[in-house]
Amino acid sequence: MHKEFQLDMRKKQVLFGILLFVLSSVYVCYLSLERIDSAKTLSALFWLVGLFGAFHAMTKSFSQEEQGSHFLLYTLASPRSIWLAKGIYYSLLLVFLNLLSSALFTLFFGAEIWEKAGGWLFAFIIFGSFGLGTALTFLSAMAFKANGSSGLNTVLGFPILMPFMQSLSMGTQEVLNGGDWGSVGLYLIILLGLTLLSAVLALFLVPFFWKG
């Protein structure tokens, strides 16, 4: 598990790819909007960048594996621990990505867009990243195993991530409007529930398709 982490960390180009992706997409938002004056718009844009960034990161990662550099690792480690390592790594990567994109949103649109948001925003970033990371790692692994490429993960991923995205964007809207636990708690619980559900399912199911 530790080794997997190290290996992934070494893939500098993935990290740079994500940096570039986030930078350019936030800048495109800036070019077309110039200023954001509603919580709805901000939360939708923010999580769209997050969602596509997640797909981007995942696609990059799995296409690296086609080269078979990790073949030895995959024969040694159990599929569960590989999935777990990958899942945790990608969730952390997504936390980084989302923090980065929020920093870029601040840079381009000004700090006042977050003025009403409290610490709950970080809860959403962390929960959301882990949710998307967990589900997407599982689906991408499956898509990758299915036909050796990861083009399929968008077809499988978008519908499944829809409930995640819904509670994320609605909850973030509440946060941006200055909501407290009473109004955002439900979304966090739903998010946590969905994340745990996909984690448990993935842990249970991964060994069945990883062989071969």
């Binding site: 299915a146 409930p163 819904q166 199911l205 398709f209």
Partner: protein
Amino acid sequence: MKHWYKILGSILLLYVAIFSLLHPLKPSLVQVDVSALHAGYNRIAFTGYYTHFNESKTEAGITLGNHFFTGDIQVEDNNHLAVTFDLPDSLPSTAVVFRVHNEQDGELALVQAMGMGDIVIDTTTDTTNFGTYARMEAKSAFGFPDLPIIYETIRNLNWHVPMWFTMFFLMIVSFVNSLKLLRVRNSENHLEDMLKFDIRSTLLNEVGLVFCILGLITGSLWARYTWGDWWTKDPQLNGALVVFLVYAGYFVLRASVEDADKRARISAVFNLFAFVLMFVLLMIMPRFASGLHPGKGGNPAFSQYDLDSSLRTVFYPAVAGWICLGYWMYNVRLRAKLLKEELKSMEN
């Protein structure tokens, strides 16, 4: 009798088709013959639906807030009566409600946009000398519930909801087949076993998806006639669409794997995932959110308050009948598929 469920299904669906379309609704008020009210003399003919104007003493008129305007009532028959009454020259608002009530039918009301003719609408109108209106509690009657907005479309309950029950049933059987597939141990004919379960779960999902589409269509039609739009933002509807997309993704996934053994395994895994997701999306998530679809904050369907006993006598057979039909459809598909494979192997 291995064909029992086909016969049962056919009989049940015949019963449901006849009964759900012919069984009466509870009494309701459907029409008034005027499009405008006038100062002074008014005569309005009311048309009821399964009402008993003739059989029990009926009062009729219009209400405005808690004021009641009524007068001389001429009952024609159980469904028709006319009332003549006088209206003042000015009224405080246009929010009139047409009402009929008697002991047997209870309280019947009709809200309809109305022209006010030569009546002056003045919010400062003195209303102290208008008569007041006393509500009359409804007695229970046997018939499909007549809910506001829904009216005759309540019959769709017997078509729309069983689609989802049938889809659930087929997906559950498919889920079980996928579980069995993944439990196949390495043995001499393990590939054969796996492919057997694979074909079953795929075809079950195929027929299940057909019912999902039918459920979406009947639901959309129902939404059009009750909520006024083909699609609305509602957790139950979102969930249904996601389920449709996820299961459509299942077939895309299958199409992209060449190797039969691998395809069976991967699609079984995805099927398990999809099923659990479907359960969460359709049965659990909508309970936490608000929306238009019935059953928010409780059971995701009509609750005991709006689903009364007469509707149940048709609804449960409808569910059973559609499930039998769904399984029959799957069975036909399965036999066709197996024959096709046999034919292919004979050609080779």
